[in-house]
Each structure stands twice: as structure tokens, then as C-alpha cells.
């Protein structure tokens, strides 16, 4: 299968001195869900920002390595160009426009569509995946619950009709039932719309459940990779990420 996204030996430096990534490599094949695991500060979010072109907005710079989509270099593109190339970054913390209505939030995302004319049918699709948003379409997004805001953040990605979604901590601060509901929908979107997903998630249990392949990031480099089945059985993963202590049983 052709690699949709390929990152090789990526090095990222903030403000000229702070090294956030030293040598990060990963592949996201077309239509796959790939998880990026690691502790706080390991470089997961920086990786997503490097892909979506946000680094210059935070005085960050790619100093080595490459990021290609379908073989084409995207490192020189501005963020709004990258999203129009079909890579949508759903940022950590949801960032809905709180004093705009749900529908206006979706309208804002039509700028990410690659068609010359905005496509309103995309809204119906969002509302069919997230019926609750349809009921709340005229309400300010700031009044939505955390789970609904996350749904809206993913809904905005859907409006863009992307090939790939970079999903940063979708479970953050949400109740387990809501997390499960949202991940079921993410899996459906991945299946039905053939959207590949690069998932950054603190909750390793759920990340390994829904992803097919995973990478472990430590100190800005990928230290371990494998299918999620392999990773789930790996002792270090069990100990550090899943909270299973195999020695305790012995």
C-alpha cells in the first residue's frame, strides 16, 4: 500500500535552541488509523504541528528531515495551504469558536474545501454523524458540553472533506462513555470515508484498540513501532502505558 504520509528523520527546534524532535520517523498508510504514543513532552503534538505547518506560528522550525504526502514535500506550505491539500489538524483542546454558532463553525471550515464553491451538503454529513450538533446548530458553540465541542471539532474536519485527519487528544477531559461514543464515530468515518487518521492520545488503551499500527515517541524520536496487537503485548508498553505490571502477578 502506498504511504499517504511519510516522515523521515524529523528534527524540530523551537526558538532556535529548544529541540523538540530529534529524529522522528513514521508512516501513515492510506486509510489507516495510526496511533502516536508517548509521555507528556515527548514530541507528539510537535509532530502534528510540523505536519500541519503550525510551527512557524510558534517560533518553531524544521531543521532536518522530510515530510511528504503522496511523495510530495509539504514542509514549505503555509497552514491554510496544507489543509486545502487534504490534511486537517484537529487541535488539542478542541478550540471551537465559542461565540459563533455551531453552524457558523462549520461554515468557517468551508475555506478548507478544495472546491472553488463551498459545498453545503457537507453539513448534512456532519449532522448525520453527530445528530446532537444538528439540534444545536443555532446555539453558540461555547454553550456545548465538552463532548459536543469535540464532536464539533471533528465535524469541522469533515466539512473540509480531508484525506487525513490529525487528531490530537480527542479524549481529553471527557467521560469514558463519551470517549467511547466519539471513537466509534471516528472509526466509522475512517471506514466509510476512507479518511486516514494520525491519532495522538494519552489514553493508550483506547488508542491501541482503535488504531491498527502504533509508534512510541520518547524524547523526540520514535523508539518503538508495530501493529497495535504487537504493541499491546509488549511488556514495556504494558508497564508504562497500559498500567499492567506483569511482575505483580508473579
Amino acid at each position: 500500500m502506498a504511504a499517504a504520509l511519510e516522515i523521515k528523520g524529523l528534527e524540530v527546534v523551537y526558538q532556535g535552541v529548544i529541540q523538540a524532535l530529534s529524529s522522528l520517523s513514521l508512516n501513515v498508510p492510506e486509510g489507516a488509523i495510526v496511533a502516536l504514543l508517548g509521555a507528556n513532552g515527548a514530541g507528539k503534538t510537535t509532530t502534528l504541528k510540523a505536519i500541519s505547518g503550525f510551527l512557524p506560528l510558534e517560533s518553531g522550525r524544521i531543521t532536518r528531515g522530510s515530510i511528504t504526502v503522496g511523495g510530495q514535500d509539504i514542509m514549505k506550505l503555509a497552514p491554510h495551504r496544507i489543509v486545502r491539500r487534504g490534511i486537517f489538524h484537529v487541535r488539542e483542546g478542541r478550540h471551537v469558536f465559542s461565540d459563533m454558532t455551531v453552524e457558523e463553525n462549520l461554515v468557517a471550515s468551508t475555506f478548507a474545501q478544495r472546491r472553488p464553491r463551498p459545498r453545503r451538503e457537507a453539513f448534512d454529513e456532519v449532522y448525520s454523524y453527530f445528530p446532537i450538533l444538528s439540534q444545536r446548530r443555532a446555539q453558540p458553540a461555547g454553550f456545548l458540553s465538552g463532548g459536543e465541542q469535540q464532536m464539533l471539532a471533528i465535524g469541522r474536519a469533515l466539512v473540509a472533506d480531508p484525506e487525513m485527519i490529525l487528531l490530537d487528544e480527542p479524549s481529553l477531559g471527557l467521560a469514558p462513555l463519551i470517549v467511547k461514543e466519539i471513537f466509534e464515530i471516528i472509526a466509522r468515518i475512517n471506514r466509510e470515508k476512507k479518511v486516514s487518521i494520525l491519532l495522538v492520545e494519552q489514553n493508550a488503551v483506547i488508542a491501541l484498540k482503535y488504531a491498527s499500527y502504533g509508534y512510541v515517541v520518547e524524547n523526540g524520536r520514535t523508539v518503538l513501532e508495530g501493529s497495535t496487537a504487537e504493541l499491546s503485548n509488549n511488556q514495556d508498553i504494558q508497564k508504562f502505558y497500559l498500567g499492567v505490571d506483569s511482575h505483580a502477578a508473579a
Partner: protein, 293 residues
């Protein structure tokens, strides 16, 4: 004339002046909303536009209609130049630094206009009819009434455009959260440049209207300082609030002029702005952001 009739006439003239205030304020607010830049050069941009109109309509003898077209094109070109050369490189710098840059631009424009057209009053062709309008027994000066009507139509049209159009959504999105707007394909720098175009248009129309109601001098832009009070009263970022607060300030100025010595008229907008800031720091119509905790 009865005191009541006098009060009504002054009120109408004041509210009419307020319509132009609202138009100028709108130009200041769209820029402020999109990039947190307070444009102190707004008054000078207005004044320069009125001189563009004079140059095209009188000096080049193109007539008022073509003159207006030339003035609009010139104003937009100048606004885009200011944005590109002086404002864009300042993005992300401290608020006060950017404010000082706009102050400087204002001085430069005033200087250039003084050099090119001299300090004296100029007469521009009357595009507004003088014939007064009678509302019942109340006499409304013709130019003032027509300037008011034009200003209000443009303000309302612009507000509706920003409220319901896709471009308006992009502007509000960029204003609320630039990084997220970028992530949704909105070219935030283009949005900011677009707000300067809006300011150029409102500035140009209000400048030509002002020059018609009064005369054309390099001090025409001073009126923008009164508009500062309008913007504060309306709550900085409230686009709808400027319309109402424009009328309030215009009316209050006129009424003060009626009952108190003229010196009081000059300070009225600022006194009102000061009181509002003390009582409601977010302005009359400024809202705290909706946030769910």
C-alpha cells in the same frame, strides 16, 4: 422658535452627525477585531480620501462620480500599502508598538497632504443637495440629512454583510482564534488585509461626506478622535454597538452645544467615554466571551 422645537432640531442634526461617526467607527472596529490593531491613522486615511476625491473631481475635472471611483481605488491602494508595509511586519508585537506605528502613519499622511495641497480650506463639488428637508415643522439641513442617510445605509449593509456572509464568518473566526482559523483553511493575513480594505471604503465615504458637510482641510481627520469615544462606548469589538453609540455621541455633542458654552461640546465625547469606562469597562455593548467552564 420654541425651546422644544430647538431641542428636536439640534437632536436631529446631532444624530445625523452620529451616522458618520458610526461609519468611521466601523472601519476602526473591523481592523481591531481581526488583528487587535487600533488604527489611529483612520482620521488621516479619511482626510486623504477626501483629497483624492478633490484631485480627481476638481483638479482632473472628472466630475463627482468618477471622482468617487478614483478616491475609492486610491484609498484602498493606500490602505493595502499601509497594511503590507507597516502593519503586517508588526503582527505579534506589543499592542502599544503597533498603535504608535499607526500614529506615525497618521502624521506622515498629514505631512504629505500639507505639502501637496497646502494648509488652506478647499471647496469640493457639492455632491449632496442643499435643499433642506422638513420633518413636520422640523427643519433638517439638506446636506446633513443626506450624509446621514448614506452613512446609515452603508453601515447597515456592512453589518449585514459581516453577519451573514462567508467572508464575515472568516473575519470573525480569524478574530476569535487565528491559529484555529488557519487550521480551517482561512488565510488570516488575507482576512486582515481585507479589513483594511473595509476601513478604506468606510473612511473614503465618510471623508468625502465630511468634506461636503464642512470643508476640506488637512484637519478633517481630527473628527476621528471623537470616534474613539464612539468605539469605546460601543465596546471596542461590538460591530452592532457602534451604530447606537455613534448616534448617542453625535446627539450628546449637539445637545451640549445647545445648552452649554461651545468648549463643553469638545469634551463631551471624552467625558462620556470616561464615565462608561469607569462603570462598564467592556463598553455599553461589549460582551464577555461565552465560555463554558
Amino acid at each position: 422658535m420654541s425651546p422644544l422645537q430647538q431641542f428636536i432640531e439640534y437632536s436631529i442634526v446631532g444624530i445625523a452627525a452620529g451616522g458618520i461617526y458610526a461609519l468611521i467607527a466601523l472601519g476602526i472596529i473591523v481592523i481591531f477585531k481581526s488583528s487587535r490593531t487600533f488604527n489611529f491613522a483612520m482620521g488621516e486615511m479619511m482626510m486623504l480620501s477626501a483629497y483624492f476625491f478633490y484631485a480627481a473631481a476638481v483638479t482632473l475635472a472628472l466630475g463627482p462620480v468618477l471622482g468617487m471611483v478614483v478616491a475609492l481605488i486610491g484609498s484602498i491602494a493606500v490602505a493595502l500599502l499601509i497594511e503590507r508595509v507597516a502593519i503586517r511586519p508588526m503582527l505579534g508585537r506589543p499592542f502599544i508598538a503597533v498603535v504608535m506605528v499607526t500614529f506615525g502613519i497618521g502624521s506622515i499622511i498629514r505631512g504629505i497632504v500639507g505639502m501637496v495641497w497646502g494648509p488652506n480650506d478647499l471647496q469640493i463639488p457639492a455632491i449632496l443637495s442643499r435643499s433642506p428637508i422638513m420633518l413636520g415643522h422640523v427643519f433638517v439641513p439638506g446636506k446633513t440629512a443626506r450624509a446621514f442617510a448614506i452613512a446609515v445605509v452603508i453601515v447597515v449593509a456592512l453589518i449585514a454583510y459581516l453577519r451573514y456572509s462567508r467572508a464575515g464568518v472568516a473575519l470573525r473566526a480569524a478574530a476569535a482564534d487565528a491559529v484555529t482559523a488557519y487550521s480551517m483553511g482561512i488565510d488570516v493575513r488575507r482576512v486582515i488585509a481585507f479589513t483594511w480594505v473595509i476601513a478604506a471604503v468606510t473612511g473614503c465615504i465618510s471623508g468625502v461626506l465630511m468634506a461636503n458637510v464642512n470643508t476640506l482641510t488637512p484637519h478633517l481627520g481630527m473628527v476621528a478622535l471623537n470616534v474613539l469615544a464612539v468605539v469605546i462606548l460601543g465596546g471596542m469589538a461590538s460591530i452592532g454597538g457602534v451604530l447606537v453609540s455613534g448616534f448617542v455621541i453625535g446627539w450628546l455633542e449637539a445637545i451640549t452645544g445647545l445648552y452649554l458654552p461651545t468648549e463643553f461640546r469638545e469634551i463631551t465625547p471624552y467625558v462620556l467615554a470616561l464615565i462608561v469606562l469607569l462603570v462598564r469597562p467592556n463598553g455599553l455593548f461589549g460582551s464577555k466571551e461565552v465560555e463554558r467552564i
